[in-house]
Amino acid sequence: MTEDLNWAIGGEAGDGIDSTGKIFAQALSRAGRHVFTSKDFASRIRGGYTAYKIRTSVDQVQSVVDRLDILVALTQRTIDENLDELHDGSAIIYDGERSWEANIPEEATAVDVPLKSLAEEAGGAIMRNTVALGAACEITGFDVEYLDESLEKRFGGKGSKIVENNREAARLGQEYVQENYDVDLGYDLETTDNDYVLLNGDEAIGMGALAAGCRFYAGYPITPATNVMEYLTGRIERYGGHVVQAEDELSAINMALGAARAGARSMTATSGPGIDLMAETFGLIATSETPLVICDVMRSGPSTGMPTKQEQGDLNMTLYGGHGEVPRFVITPTTISECFWKTVEAFNYAEKYQTPVYLVADLALAVTEQTFPPEAFDMDAVEIDRGKLVDDDTVDEWLDEQGRFRAHANTDDGISPRAIPGTIDGAHMSTGLEHDELGRRTEETDVRVEQVDKRNRKVETAQAEEDWDYREFGSPDAENLVISWGSNEGALVEALDYLEEEGVDVRVVSVPYIFPRPDLTDDVEAAEDVIVVECNATGQFADVLERDTLTRLKRINKYTGVRFKADELAEAIQTKLTEEVPAQ
């Protein structure tokens, strides 16, 4: 049997599903195994179905699959929700002593463990999930000792007694299964000496911000971006920074703008509805040429949509949102480690080009955890570029004859000098009104044109100077080209294995920059078939590419609220390849 194990715990929100899943995921990671987690959660706090799923292997895993091997079910709904994924090698751990009559499907092995009683024996019914973890260890041949460290991590703050009790609870669960069952699913989870860290996309973004010197964060809670704020809170202070929970997104982005003008690297993060509210100030940031990172962690829209579900539906908003025409960068990390590196880049581009940078992630990236070697976040490789920041000594060359600072000087590359408060002789006015080089309001036609061109020239400069590359997988010479952005990369990369088995040759291009972006015209022209994969209904990126390349492209769109799975994508790609290209 394969060593690729799919495990899940499910129950009602409030049942401690998340922390139990996390404890197991961390234990697997400490045992040197790769881990990829996913979460099903409903938009309510108590009473909604939630599940935490773990896929683990000694090889890298970066996607979810349609298979569940071990399910810890705290409710019948947990079983019902996952029926499709159960198979005749699955085991379901449940508590037969509890009031619900578990209806276990025939093909699965029922493992009835008195979770509550054993937990009480260990010191309290609250530890029933830990008992279940011990039981799962026994079934999978995973040494229960690996749980100890993660239990310490989770409960250490509550005292050694709690940690000890939990360790005992895990052992009772493990022993119970050992003594009463002879389940052999063929698992004997291999461990390695590999050193891994386990984190999600929101955490990687927060960590990237700290590494990049972000000192000010203002935000308003919204799923799935709140974790960025929660991560920074309590950590940013170590570096002399500050997090503010603003009264709304309008305030959040304006506070961040204030801090940025004061010279701090600052950021705000939100999701769709918040991005809408920020749109007006977005224009001000661009015209006042303020460096700011605005992170949009997308979820299903429109309106309040499905707040806890996956979608990549805000691309148009970030690319075109806001009135008038303003330069902007739109960066779209494709993996969790890229969430870190692209955040660092976002801060550099914001200051270098003095323009707002949208960092666009999606729910699947934000809440999913994955293992990486710590070197994937090699801090020594972090570089800081503060752009044309002037100081008391360099301000002089940017003063006009009257000694006034030319904050919006019309330069060849479109980038002006930047003076922050306290810089002697750098005092200047900035405004969202059209302005001249000094920042003074104007409606003179030639100055207007000059300033618009100047701001837009920054994009041309960036387009030419920076490396707007893409990531590539599969066979470089394949006639079939699949293009995607955001979190779909992991599933696509795994889909390649399935496609290979079917004898289908595919080249995958995953794009982390949407504006400016790599020129894909040659790639599209060279390919026989081009498919654009995205989690939205209309194909927002496909539209962009069609306009770039003047070529009709095939599209795979998913907007159920659930991320792509590798096997599902492989099938969809095969089907698409047999279809005609839609007419022009």
Binding site: R30, Y196, V197, L199, E203, M207, L210, A211, G213, R215, F216, A218, R235, E237, G240, G241, H242, V244, A246, L250, S251, A252, N254, M255, A256, L257, G258, A259, A260, R261, A262, G263, A264, R265, S266, T281, L284, M379, D380, V382, E383, I384, Q402, R404, A419, I420, P421, G422, T423, I424, D425, G426, A427, H428, M429, S430, T431, G432, R440, R441
Partner: protein, 287 residues
Amino acid sequence: MSSEVRFTDFKSDKQPTWCPGCGDFGTMNGMMKALANTGNDPDNTFVVAGIGCSGKIGTYMHSYALHGVHGRALPVGQGVKMARPDIEVMVAGGDGDGYSIGAGHFVHAVRRNVDMSYVVMDNRIYGLTKGQASPTSRSDFETSTTPEGPKQPPVNPLALALASGATFIAQSFASDAMRHAEIVQEAIEHDGFGFVNVFSPCVTFNDVDTYDYFRDTLVDLEEEGHDRHDYEAAKEVILDAGKEYQGVMYQNENSVPYHEQHGVTEDMSEIPDGAPEDAMDLVREFY
């Protein structure tokens, strides 16, 4: 900047486009005087303004400044001050800007008690959009969009501030130059959020709340022997709908400004050339 700062150093070379006689001239002069009197200079001052005739004030002053979007000046000002406790921050705007579109921010800015000043030019009308009712317009004040008056009681910004936990509440009159400058200066010197509502008549669209009206009715709290530290006395004058007052209504002696509450005291503009030295610890937390 020279060490001897005069108030004219805060003047920009841009000529105001306000109507001749607009109260905002006097308001601005007082702001500049107060900034100079408190020992600030343009290079360490940040003025944030909203949108409206009043919001143009930042464009006519010389300092680091931002003229933002309608109603959002307060959040910008708070962001500047949190990032740079060493910088003097003053926010200015109109009654529409501050008490209508920006009312939510006003309440929260007051609550946060960031150490900065907020000057509102209250002309009881929307000037820049040519004379519609504002939140402080009288309920029977006829305008193009309220031909029979708004038929709603005006907002009492001082009461709103008091109810939100303000630590400094004052009111001044643009045309009483000395008193106005003094009051703004006190707001700057206050340890926390210094709020000043300024009667700043609109000579073009408001023929009710005129210079004459304020001259005739204004009562100076100083002359009345008002005790600004007495919360109950403050409540009484603030809720007194029958009179127009100038002076400091309320000042909380125990005001603890935001930066002290939150330990936000560092200059956040300074960051290392690369990731901070102990940054790998951030990664190790994820073991």
